[in-house]
Subunit: 211 residues, 4 copies
Amino acid sequence: MARKTGSNGELTAERVRLAALRLFADQGYAAVSMREIASAVGLQAGALYNHFPNKQALLFDLMEGHMLDLIGEWERESRRFVDPVAALEGFVRFHIRYHLTRQDAVFISYMELRNLEPENFARIEALRRVYEGFLRKIMSIGKRDGAFRIGDTPVAAMAIIAMLTGIGTWFRSGGRLSVAEVEEIYVQMALGSLGCGVARAARSMLAEPVE
Amino acid sequence: MARKTGSNGELTAERVRLAALRLFADQGYAAVSMREIASAVGLQAGALYNHFPNKQALLFDLMEGHMLDLIGEWERESRRFVDPVAALEGFVRFHIRYHLTRQDAVFISYMELRNLEPENFARIEALRRVYEGFLRKIMSIGKRDGAFRIGDTPVAAMAIIAMLTGIGTWFRSGGRLSVAEVEEIYVQMALGSLGCGVARAARSMLAEPVE
Amino acid sequence: MARKTGSNGELTAERVRLAALRLFADQGYAAVSMREIASAVGLQAGALYNHFPNKQALLFDLMEGHMLDLIGEWERESRRFVDPVAALEGFVRFHIRYHLTRQDAVFISYMELRNLEPENFARIEALRRVYEGFLRKIMSIGKRDGAFRIGDTPVAAMAIIAMLTGIGTWFRSGGRLSVAEVEEIYVQMALGSLGCGVARAARSMLAEPVE
Amino acid sequence: MARKTGSNGELTAERVRLAALRLFADQGYAAVSMREIASAVGLQAGALYNHFPNKQALLFDLMEGHMLDLIGEWERESRRFVDPVAALEGFVRFHIRYHLTRQDAVFISYMELRNLEPENFARIEALRRVYEGFLRKIMSIGKRDGAFRIGDTPVAAMAIIAMLTGIGTWFRSGGRLSVAEVEEIYVQMALGSLGCGVARAARSMLAEPVE
DNA sequence: CATGAATGAGGCTTCATTCAT
DNA sequence: TATGAATGAAGCCTCATTCAT
């Protein structure tokens, strides 16, 4: 009983986050009303303001949470890789897996950027740059080592991320391809786009779980 | 002179389209009011309804116009290519050039899909599939001819289009890279992603105006 | 050719009247737009203003026209009657017949009174009082002659007119009863309500075409 | 005390009903704006939507409430009557009294029928038929008993109701006649219209709670 | 923490009317 | 006379947010 109130508070906040995530992803931030979010959680609109100061803060909370999770997860995952080719492959697989299991959050993070107020926008952009930096780092090391042939590293990094993130547009789990198959295809394409042909790619695939 | 009035009508409609395009791209369909659009053209909101039956129709008009133009342009452009490698390169260059000169329309066409009513959505989606079909066709011919190594043609086509379209996210004319430089980078990456290495790519570049 | 223009003018005005009559009766004055009226006649809204200075004037034109016709018709018809009982019967039959053949105009004349501007309202009310005066006159003569037993002549006149006019609420031509049958019923009721029983009524019916 | 809030809600709804009733009766449903209604209650327009989902629902609420009250009242009142002549007289008196004390609701119920959406219209019409059925029942019993001479019962019922309801058109309390006097006049006329002459009428008048 | 009622702003759309052509 | 474009006002409704309870 003692902790019930406080406990319920964060629990409710989390349910609000989930409902908002789904609704924003489905209809867009601007098209979703606080009433809709509240009713999806079984509340009246006013009650939302006990958990989030306003609608914008709710959006920012979702986007920031997503970026922080994403960065944190990759930081943990990335420790496994030493070789840049393996790391790039690992990044591709990670990005695909992570994004396909959080399509709503990903979608929002790309679509609703413009609905962020300037300061919030800057903070999310900074996080995004951090994440993209991971890929750039891998690529520039691989380029230095002669593993990749890259015209312009920042551009190529954007190209690969766009390519990967675009999967969310069409992928439906239970569809023609499994996540694993999609990973295979994109690993090959990403490496190929960096001039890292079959032979090397194949080798690295075998090598991957190394170390 | 006889058609002065009618002429003014279409002229105004066109100015409305331009203003709406810019505003929708900047702030999003949902965030732009008819009043804003009207005032950008120097009209009262009500006057817009002499040219478009409602806000949705205006959005659809923009998106359909864009897709039809895009398809029409590529149909004209594509006649120049016979070899699939050259055609793919041509497609990449065309897509980049076309999209970078119409960033607003492109942006809207990707971002505002969900604000289309179901029937309008279906029509735009059909047009999009037509356009993507052009790339798929090139790729499957190249694959058949042994020029490309492709895991899954539809997926790879989506991957390349996502990669290319993503350019709009970061490219700013007058920035560090020219359109031509961007084209070079992406041609290389796209071909690479299809297992079509430098050598072949280089050759095909030289060969291009052929046939 | 010479008279085409002028002639067309009044012809168009008449078509506008007809369309407006029908639309006002169906949907109510406030719910009908000038555009609707115009389009029912195959014109643009602006063109209506060549024929009527504004919407209110169009309504007034219809109502005044109806009242003037009604009064004029009864003035012609009433010349046939001398005996007040016969006259009352004649009035009942006339009112029913006239109102059932102009249901739209009648309906408007009762329903749209409140949409008249004060001055127009006063003019229509004056005409209405003229018409009701015809009935009151008949009734007071009949009362004086001992043919009718009437508590309060003005009130009884309103009662009978309300009773008769109410027919428009439910009568549909082609329905269970013919106009003639309805007339019979109401003649009997109206006379009855004035204490003028069957016997007398029957006699007067036979007598009617009498001068 | 616990329900203070809820209580305020229904209280406000009732004040809205009253204001709307008066405004609709005065100017017509189509001519009254939600803002006007709100301001008559000292609210902003938006607040009305906490109590009624839309303008149409407000109209329907008023009309349905009126019909249900009317039916309920007559059901209670009608228990007093056994004899059809007395019942008819009772109905006339009841209808007049009830309608003259709720002129606004009555007026709306007749004038705004056409502003009801089809489904709402059907429900009000059904209630109206129930009420008219009461009179038809009285009349057909009286006809069977030989107390009334009636050409066509449904038509005669409509005629009497139209006659009675028309009173609202001209009656103003404080005018030349009192409600009681009006009742007297219409009882006589209604009975007369059913061939139930003075003698009988007089008798029943005496019998009733007269004098 | 949650509710229900309210605010004030604003959104899309329609309308009667005007006027140059 | 008729059109097509425009105005300016207004209408219904929704919304984010606040606050007393």
